[in-house]
Amino acid sequence: MGVGIEVKDLNAWYGSTHTLRDIHLNIPANHATALIGPSGCGKSTFVRCLNRMHETNPIARVTGTVKIGDLDIYNDVSPVVIRRRIGMVFQRPNPFPTMSIYDNVASGLRLNGFRNRQALDEIVERSLRRAALWDEVKDDLRRKSGASISGGQQQRLCIARALAVDPEVLLMDEPASALDPISTAKIEDLIFHLKSEYTIVIVTHNMQQAARVAEKTGFFLNGQLVEFDATTKIFTNPSDKRTEDYITGRFG
């Protein structure tokens, strides 16, 4: 099951640009939380701070606390451990092209030295089923490469890969923005089903998408969290003028 995320006083920089300012936020467990905001407002930076991917950029810096459940991720553990507990799905599908579908899903476990063949088979099947991809690929599991399926399938494969290591949190940075509407709808349905078991944080430019999948929505602007509230509230009656202006297109 998922765990909640508690963000306190989070600040992040790229070199000398202050990208995130004093973010305070409590993301509820086992729900989907959407993050919206104009381009460059810091959404991606924010989610990347949640699993310490931010620091893989050599010029990046971050301060503040992020607690995933009870774990203070910046103080208690190594990034490797944290990233295993927090799955991430990126904007463009990035399956490993040199691996088969099976190996893609199994890769996270294999990395951790997991060798039990039979258990692996089961986990791969279960993850693919959860990602609503099993039926489409079950006959080519080991024959097809992760790159030889369609974009929408690739993205679901990436989700399956993230699910296979049984994360508590799933971060998604615009997971459907590179996909066509039908694939997008499949991913949304999937998120909708997954959120009972995982804490999901999804960045999206598509406000209807946020509206459709998430219970809570946060609006970022210029590196600040302007408003964080129930999704229906944000989209029908936001409290902050800036949020209202953004979602009604009165912006910029």
Binding site: T184, D189, Q208, R212, T231
Partner: protein, 222 residues
């Protein structure tokens, strides 16, 4: 783009609207029952049901608003939601009419009983049947049935006018029965308005199903 959840939500919305419609229809029926048997407890019942109907109305409107904001409904779905919003208002007003009727019955009860020679229950059953048919056409997405509802409105109007004339004459003849007659007159008016609302509902159904706005076309006069 199988937006399954969205279409489930639309079904939920319809369901909710039907429940509310059921309540409103019941209220009308009860108010007429109260009129027939002059039973104040039934009036109470009707008047107590109003807050529930009102709550339903707000919930349905909120749900429709949420769906509009969150799901970008298009074409038939969009027309459906708009139809729901309008039908919702009409049903709420049907509920109001029921309360009004109950109020009139209450007033009547406080007066000496007299025999008013108009067939309110018939008018009521006519109006109620219009409501029921309108809702059936909504359930079945049946534009033809909805058209038949609109056709019925003329009958109700005629009946209402007949009642008006009768009562007008009655008052003229028996001034002592004026208060009772006036109340009955207003009840008839209320029922006529129920018929109007049923007509509106039927028009909204046609609009939803066919995408054609038939208001002020089929309707021979409001």
């Amino acid at each position: 783009m199988t937006r399954i959840r969205f279409h489930q939500n639309l079904d939920d919305l319809k369901e909710k609207l039907l429940v509310m419609a059921g309540m409103a229809e019941q209220a009308i029926q009860r108010s007429i029952e109260a009129y027939r048997v002059r039973d104040l407890s039934i009036c109470d019942l009707v008047q107590r049901s109003e807050p529930a109907i009102n709550r339903q109305e707000r919930e349905i409107d909120q749900m429709a608003l949420d769906l509009l904001a969150m799901e970008q409904p298009m074409a038939i779905d969009l027309r459906f939601i708009l139809a729901v919003i309008k039908i919702n208002a009409d049903i709420e007003r049907v509920g109001d009419q029921a309360v009004n009727i109950a109020g009139r019955v209450r007033d009547l009860q406080a007066m000496p009983p007299v025999d008013i020679p108009v067939d309110i229950p018939k008018l009521a059953s006519m109006a109620a049947s219009m409501v029921r048919r309108a809702l059936q056409s909504f359930i079945d997405a049946d534009a033809n049935l909805a058209e038949s509802v609109i056709a019925m409105d003329d009958q109700v109007d005629q009946m209402n006018n007949a009642i008006y004339r009768t009562l007008s004459k009655l008052i003229h003849d028996e001034p002592s029965q004026t208060p009772q007659a006036l109340n009955v007159l207003l009840i008839a008016r209320n029922l006529e308005r129920v018929g109007d609302h049923a007509t509106n509902i039927a028009e909204d159904v046609i609009f939803w199903v066919r995408g054609a706005d038939v208001r002020h076309h089929l309707r021979t006069g409001s």
